[in-house]
Symmetry: C2
Subunit: 240 residues, 2 copies
DNA sequence: GCAGTATACTTGTCTGACGATTTTGCCTTT
DNA sequence: AAAGGCAAAATCGTCAGACAAGTATACTGC
């Protein structure tokens, strides 16, 4: 009946599954920034042919999750300050257009409020297992997932396929940086949840201007946290 | 001395050359919308192996210049009204951010004024060879190139790699639609040049608000021309 | 005459191997 | 002893072939 199934359950293709697996390993920080990712390594680790691994690396490179030049091995990038600013400038450009369109329509996307609920329980988990290291890492990962899902739902609700596609690329790199700074993260997760609420509130009130400002504030906070973390790491390795 | 040559003369790689060639054939309208593009056809036409052609089609698909679902032949899309609106909404989102940033800095990109000069001579050529069909088509192609170059220079001048990358994808589809409507084009090219001038003027005056409005007007005009052309074709094929 | 099914053709995907290029380690020379 | 050149190893780009899945068509039965 309907042209396409709304819920594709799993990656039917082998290349798709491989791509998703490697992608998750990169954004979760399982593969450290600066680490070499050769085609042969991927092929061996997953027991697939090299052209398959090659296609996977090319897709990741196109999305900005890998850096590679001709005849050189792919490495996962470590974003410096200038690139983080560039990333968040692009992110704000896309998400600003989204929240303005949503506020004009005055419709709060249900998916976003669902992601907010998941965000809150994840924040509670993080605060609860503060001492336990492994549980903390797991809870943090789900928290990041919920954060990504929130912003993704915001853009998806606009209904623009091209805006969503651009945002998907941007969010990939955002996810990457969050995963890389995972270990030393110290931020209170409830602050993020409150900032999300402010955005949804402004959208529901049909106030594009305020929604835009709330979003800018939220992204500025996030960028500031990332830059502060980056400077802290820089000084740490300077002492060593 | 310098890390990378500022002017990469030609695609050194075979895959790159193939990709560029097919891309140009698509955006110039040499390959009609709806036409099937099989891997074997590309491989035969260019005398390359199938995996090479496959990689080429995948890259084109990722950029939106081809549509393909699993186990089905890739076709060049013909954008309907909803998709053209979506495309121009995304385009305005990106270019608006660019002109605002440029107007804030108050710097007019030299590349843009160069593209404007090229645009004017191309417009003159188009008007001159109005009767000659082949010359007209050639002049129109260079005019479209100059138009693309102008908007591309605008975004490139911001200095954001990610914004430029998003814009490149968007402009690819824009180029595609312009190439498809090439045959029946009737617009006065000087109007476009004047609208471009208004944008540059506002940027030079350091007036972000006016630059934004001029851009919105320009894109609205362009979108209107495309939609009008599309409706005309629809009625034509309804009569036949 | 129409619909359902089976077959054949086309297409997409996966696997293996060869040649070209870059990088790195070592040797020679100044 | 240090720097430059050379050689060897490793990696990337490309090509050729076989298998499986999907689609379209033709045929048969109703």
């Amino acid at each position: 009946m309907d042209g396409k199934p709304s819920f594709p359950l799993g990656p039917s293709s082998l290349t798709e599954a491989l791509y998703e697996s490697v992608r998750k390993r990169i954004v979760n920080g399982d593969i450290a920034p600066g680490e070499k990712l050769t085609e042969i390594r991927i092929a061996n680790e997953y027991s697939v042919a090299r052209p398959t691994a090659k296609a996977c690396l090319e897709r990741l490179t196109a999305l900005g999750l890998l850096r590679r030049t001709t005849h050189k091995t792919a490495v996962v990038p470590k974003l410096d300050e200038a690139e983080i600013r560039d990333l968040y400038f692009s992110r704000e450009t896309v998400e600003r257009a989204a929240v303005v369109a949503l506020a004009r329509a005055g419709k709060v996307p249900p998916e976003a409020v669902r992601a907010q609920a998941a965000m809150r329980v994840a924040a509670g988990e993080t605060a609860q297992h503060g001492s336990d290291q492994s549980s903390h890492a797991g809870a943090f990962a789900t928290q990041v997932e919920a954060d990504i899902a929130f912003h993704s739902a915001l853009v998806a609700a606009v209904g623009s396929r091209r805006l969503a596609r651009m945002h998907e690329v941007i969010l990939g790199e955002v996810h990457l940086t969050m995963g890389q700074f995972q270990a030393h993260r110290t931020t209170d997760p409830m602050n993020v949840a409150h900032e999300h609420d402010d955005i949804l509130k402004a959208i529901g009130d049909g106030d594009p201007e305020r929604a835009q400002q709330c979003l800018a504030h939220h992204l500025d906070q996030a960028q500031g946290r990332l830059l502060g973390q980056l400077r802290r790491e820089r000084s740490e390795e300077a002492h060593a």
